[in-house]
């Protein structure tokens, strides 16, 4: 799973969000390291929707502009959980080999 996809799913794991919300949340989660741009965000959302990992939620109009909300599906949550497991396992092995605290044996 690519990092933007991981961060978008992580942003949506806390609840449904609109495009702007996802962008700002991704910036917050990555501590400003990842800045999703509109083209990347909506191409990723389009792919995640067609893969069944994200679905459309409610719509609302704010300042004359339509906002779509997106929600993570059970399939998307399972995929994210699996990815978290993979990252944790890899991180544990890396920490162990570096002799850092909390590493696996």
């Amino acid at each position: 799973m690519q990092e933007p996809t991981f961060l978008i799913l992580t942003a949506l794991a806390a609840g449904a969000q609109h495009g702007y919300g996802i962008m700002s949340d991704v910036a917050r989660i990555s501590e400003g390291r990842v800045r999703l741009r509109a083209g990347t965000l909506y191409a990723a959302l389009d792919r995640l929707k067609s893969d069944g990992m994200v679905t459309s939620d409610k719509k609302e109009v704010v300042d004359g502009r339509l906002r779509h909300y997106y929600r993570i599906t059970d399939e998307g949550a399972a995929e994210l959980a699996a990815e978290v497991g993979r990252i944790q396992a890899n991180a544990a092995v890396a920490a162990s080999r570096l002799g850092l605290a909390g590493g696996a044996i």
């Binding site: 962008m23 910036a27 741009r37 509109a38 083209g39 909506y42 792919r47 067609s50 502009r65």
Partner: protein, 396 residues
């Protein structure tokens, strides 16, 4: 401050003229996206783009640095829009390819699909007739019927004849065994082999004599027929469906058409004088005008028989692609028969590459474009008819 706070609570810091210019640019770039995606997300995306731009406008920095920063972010946003459109469109193409692969590259229009299925029976048979003519088999039969002394059974194959002589029976056999994909690939191989070996033969003789190499109607017919057979075998349900659609009358018409084509085939022409060649024998020693009348009668019967039904009309259009080179050959013979050998040469249009290949390619292009437009029209009618349903129900 986060971007969402920027969006929800604060007014824009971008000057109005700059906003207008930026919005115009964003909208122009959004036209790169598929229509459905644009309709659903364009306004939202513009909102997101301005949110990011407003955030950048609030960053405190010396004037030139701030300008460079904002301009750089704007260029990056524009480039990202283009990349996003390319990703979405690329995925759409990939999905279509996957879908087509799953369904076996079938033509979606039922009538064209059925027509191609019929052609998947006829084209391999015609290819076989052309291959048999390599051995002068149809010529020998026609010769015994007409009593012409020149024609007899021979088997003099050159390297250039091999793709057809070996490929055509293989394609026909594979089609008969219902191995349509393999048969289609075999037909592609025959077309490529014929093209490559013709190139070799033509390069060996310079200047190339008339009616040889690519300017030979026979080579054009073989290559185009093999391509038509390949398309029919690969993108239609195949010979099973074709045979189910073929009527007895249709089979008779195919036989008559094959007889004419067999006479006009590789290795010499029953309809044209002696085997020594076109230049010496254009005087039509064999059949002359009666031959022309027979050919015309067969062609008219085939055309009249095919024009009656939508599927057979499409079969006629598809088979016309490879048969067009023979029309070029026939008009030369006709001119010779009507005006005599000397006058005929002046009256006829000489066989040439554009004359042989351009009309078949234009016809093939017109068929593909026509089928695509018809499908698009049908899709539009369906989509415009669907919202009318509830309205009419309400008014009723």
């Amino acid at each position: 401050m986060t971007w969402s706070a920027e969006l929800d609570g604060h007014s824009s810091r971008l000057p109005a003229r700059r906003r207008t210019r930026m919005e115009r640019r964003y909208r122009r770039l959004l036209t790169l996206y598929p229509k459905a995606h644009r309709q659903e997300h364009a306004e939202e995306m513009i909102g997101v783009l301005f949110a990011a731009a407003d955030y950048d406008a609030r960053i405190r920095a010396p004037k030139p640095v701030g300008w460079a920063l904002r301009s750089g972010q704007h260029v990056a946003d524009c480039a990202d829009l283009v990349a996003g459109a390319a990703r979405i469109r690329g995925r759409m193409v990939l999905n279509r390819v996957k879908q087509a692969t799953r369904s076996g590259w079938m033509v979606p229009d039922r009538r064209w699909s059925d027509a191609l299925a019929v052609v998947s029976v006829i084209a391999p048979l015609l290819l076989l007739v052309a291959a048999l003519a390599e051995f002068h088999l149809p010529q020998a039969v026609a010769s015994s019927l007409t009593g012409h002394p020149h024609w007899r059974l021979t088997a003099t194959l050159g390297l250039g004849d091999l793709p057809l002589a070996a490929g055509a029976p293989a394609v026909a056999l594979l089609a008969l065994l219902r191995l349509r994909r393999l048969a289609g690939l075999g037909a592609i191989g025959a077309a490529i082999g014929q093209t490559l070996l013709t190139q070799g033969g033509a390069a060996a003789q310079r200047p190339a004599p008339p009616f040889t190499g690519y300017s030979s109607p026979v080579v054009a017919f073989t290559v185009l027929l093999a391509c038509t057979a390949a398309a029919a075998l690969l993108i239609s349900p195949g010979p099973d469906r074709g045979l189910a659609l073929l009527t007895r009358g249709g089979a008779v018409l195919i036989g008559a058409g094959a007889l004419v084509l067999g006479g006009f085939s590789v290795g010499g022409n029953v309809w044209l004088a002696s085997p020594s060649g076109f230049t010496q024998g254009l005087g039509s020693e064999v059949t002359g005008l009666p031959g022309d009348l027979l050919i015309a009668a067969v062609l008219i019967a085939v055309a009249a028989g095919c024009l009656r039904a939508p599927v057979s009309r499409r079969v006629l259009a598809l088979l016309a692609i490879p048969v067009i080179p023979y029309a070029v050959l026939w008009q030369e013979k006709l001119a010779s028969d009507l005006f005599g050998q000397a006058g005929g040469a002046a009256a006829s249009i000489s066989s040439s590459l554009p004359l042989l290949y351009l009309p078949p390619l234009l016809l093939a292009g017109a068929i593909v474009a026509g089928a695509w437009l018809a499908r698009r029209r049908a899709t539009r009618q369906v989509s415009s008819a669907s919202p009318a349903g509830p309205r009419s129900a309400v008014s009723a």
